[in-house]
């Protein structure tokens, strides 16, 4: 199994719902313990997040486009964060999920240095490294309805820009949509074989002009009216 996410850059509106839903679910999760906040109501709020959304502008006006860009753990097939870990706290499961054993981590930060995506964040309160769990405590929970056995970020996304599934299964939604839309992994040149995929923005459909719109409307009205008139 190779579990991961698909993130659709075409439909993502950059609302941060994935990030906040992730924070909400994982702050009370037993997998990582709480996600600490520092000065949450102060002048300089900060804290541990597994999912961060940034916003970029590509190209120059008028040939430009805004891209909203959520980043969380890619659950790399060849995860250096696991290789460099001296304590064995970082590990990769058979289903592909990369996790940190909070009882073993010594907080050396080396895994965060080895991750090119910034997917790992040290929690200053326990002094241990924390990261996306792909909601391992949701996706296998048989107490939940089958449609709810997905990561919190996927369920929260209002534009369905996030999908979750098994990339080893060619029939899965994530595999199909990746193949159809030319999904890509980030920074493949580093050789980490990231599993999660990003779907590039689609070619926009041409907008019809006013004359075309009127002609279409008249044709539509005529086709509606013709049976009545014939009668």
């Amino acid at each position: 199994m190779k579990l991961g996410l698909v993130i659709d850059l075409d439909t993502c509106v950059g609302c941060h719902a994935c990030a906040t839903a992730c924070k909400e679910w994982n702050a009370s999760s037993k997998v990582n313990g709480a996600l600490s906040d520092y000065e949450p109501f102060g002048a300089e709020p900060s804290g541990v997040w597994f999912n961060r959304v940034r916003h970029y502008e590509v190209g120059d006006y008028p040939e430009n486009k805004t891209i909203n860009f959520p980043v969380c753990c890619m659950h790399c097939a060849d995860a250096d964060c696991v290789t460099v870990c001296p304590t064995g706290a970082s590990y990769k499961r058979d289903d592909g999920i990369v996790l940190v054993d909070q009882d073993k981590c010594m907080g050396c930060n080396l895994c965060a240095w080895a991750c090119p995506y910034g997917a790992r964040e040290l929690d200053q309160v326990p002094g241990t490294m924390k990261k996306c769990t792909l909601c391992v405590d949701r996706i296998y929970d048989e107490m939940l309805a089958p449609e709810d056995r997905q990561p919190a970020c996927v369920l929260a996304c209002p534009t369905h820009a996030r999908m979750f599934g098994d990339f080893d299964d060619p029939q899965s939604e994530v595999s199909r949509v990746t193949a159809e839309r030319g999904g890509f992994g980030l920074l493949p040149e580093l050789g980490y074989a990231p599993v999660s995929r990003y779907l590039p923005p689609r070619q926009p459909q041409p907008v019809i002009d006013a004359d075309d719109a009127r002609a279409l409307l008249e044709r539509g009205l005529a086709s509606l009216a013709s049976p009545v008139i014939r009668r």
Binding site: R54, E57, G59, D80, G88, G118, E121, L187
Partner: protein, 318 residues
């Protein structure tokens, strides 16, 4: 990368200690420079103390040091784990070696321990360097010059300390002056080569590659050969990522600090060697001056390194 004082002190202090230990053990093994026993054990002991001080400092870097003992467990994959294992083995081996030297015992066991001490010192030095050199997201570290630098800089500072010890206790200190000079020039060449190699940013990753738009994207029309910039970073204040990877060093400061590192770390000690006054006080001063310079050099090693996370935070290239 954030220049963490604990790691800077660790790599410089244990680098000098490991270099000194290896050189003392080699001198003893090959009877180089006919150092008396009381010079050998003092040298080896100073080396062990410097390594121990460095390792103690490195523990300060850990956010959860109570699990530090677990770092021996991933020898097969992790350079940090290998460093911990070799460093832990170095202390009993070098300790036993020092005891034999103090008792002026000769023979095969002392030679064997000297060779083991040297091999372990080299192993620790290489492991320390490989921790940095193995990190692919940091171009300025992921180069063959990183281990070359760490090994040569450790031996250079260690050789200066050995020269000071030879000035104090040996009948002839000239051979050690020569050894220090050779390591000094080699280390200087390696450092200049390292700075030259990281200055070539043809291999640098770009923001466009990091977000996958290098080939262009579909906008209102096709945007080919796109270039990208950060509009909004998405957080209201700093994060772990900005504090760990966001350190910015102004170009002109970098140039100035490189000058300081070259002057203190290489220029002044090498000048002292050329003057060649064989008293231990100026020799020790040269060694201390070199270590000060290497602290600046190591600070720069961190400050000039750019992690790929910075691309996502808006840096055009790393």
């Amino acid at each position: 990368m954030k220049p963490a004082v604990s790691i800077i002190f660790f790599t410089v202090s244990s680098g000098a200690g490991l270099g000194l230990l290896a050189l003392v053990a080699l001198c003893d093994t090959f009877a180089f420079g006919s150092l008396p026993a009381h010079a050998l054990w003092r040298g080896a002991l100073l080396g062990v103390v410097l390594v121990a001080a460095g390792l103690a400092s490195s523990v300060l870097h850990l956010a959860n040091p109570k699990n530090a003992w677990r770092s021996f467990s991933r020898f097969k994959t992790s350079w940090l784990s290998r460093e911990a294992v070799f460093a832990a083995a170095l202390f009993p081996v070098s300790g036993l070696y020092i005891v034999l030297v103090i008792q002026s015992k000769g023979g095969a066991s002392r030679i064997l321990l000297a060779i083991l001490t040297c091999a372990l010192a080299w192993a620790v030095l290489i492991c320390t360097a490989m921790i940095y050199a193995s990190l692919k997201p940091i171009r300025q570290w992921h180069t063959r010059w990183t281990p070359v630098n760490y090994v040569l800089l450790g031996h250079w500072s260690g050789a200066l300390l050995l020269w000071a010890i030879a000035c104090a206790y040996a009948t002839r200190s000239a051979p050690f002056l020569l050894v220090a000079g050779v390591f000094g020039l080699a280390a200087l060449a390696a450092k200049l080569a390292y700075w030259h190699s990281i200055g070539d940013d043809a291999q640098a990753l770009t923001l466009e590659r990091a977000i996958g738009v290098r080939e262009g994207v579909h906008g209102p029309g096709p945007i080919s050969a796109a270039h990208a910039r950060l509009l909004d970073v998405g957080h209201s204040h700093g994060t772990f990522l900005t504090s760990e990877f966001g350190f910015q060093l102004a170009q002109r400061h970098a140039r100035g600090l490189r000058g300081v590192a070259l002057a203190l770390g290489f220029g002044l000690p090498l000048a002292w060697l050329v003057v060649g006054v064989a008293h231990w006080q100026p020799a020790l001063a040269a060694a201390v001056c070199c270590i000060m310079g290497l602290l600046v050099e190591r600070w720069l090693f961190f400050a000039e390194a750019k992690h790929t996370v910075r691309l996502y935070h808006g840096d055009p290239r790393t």
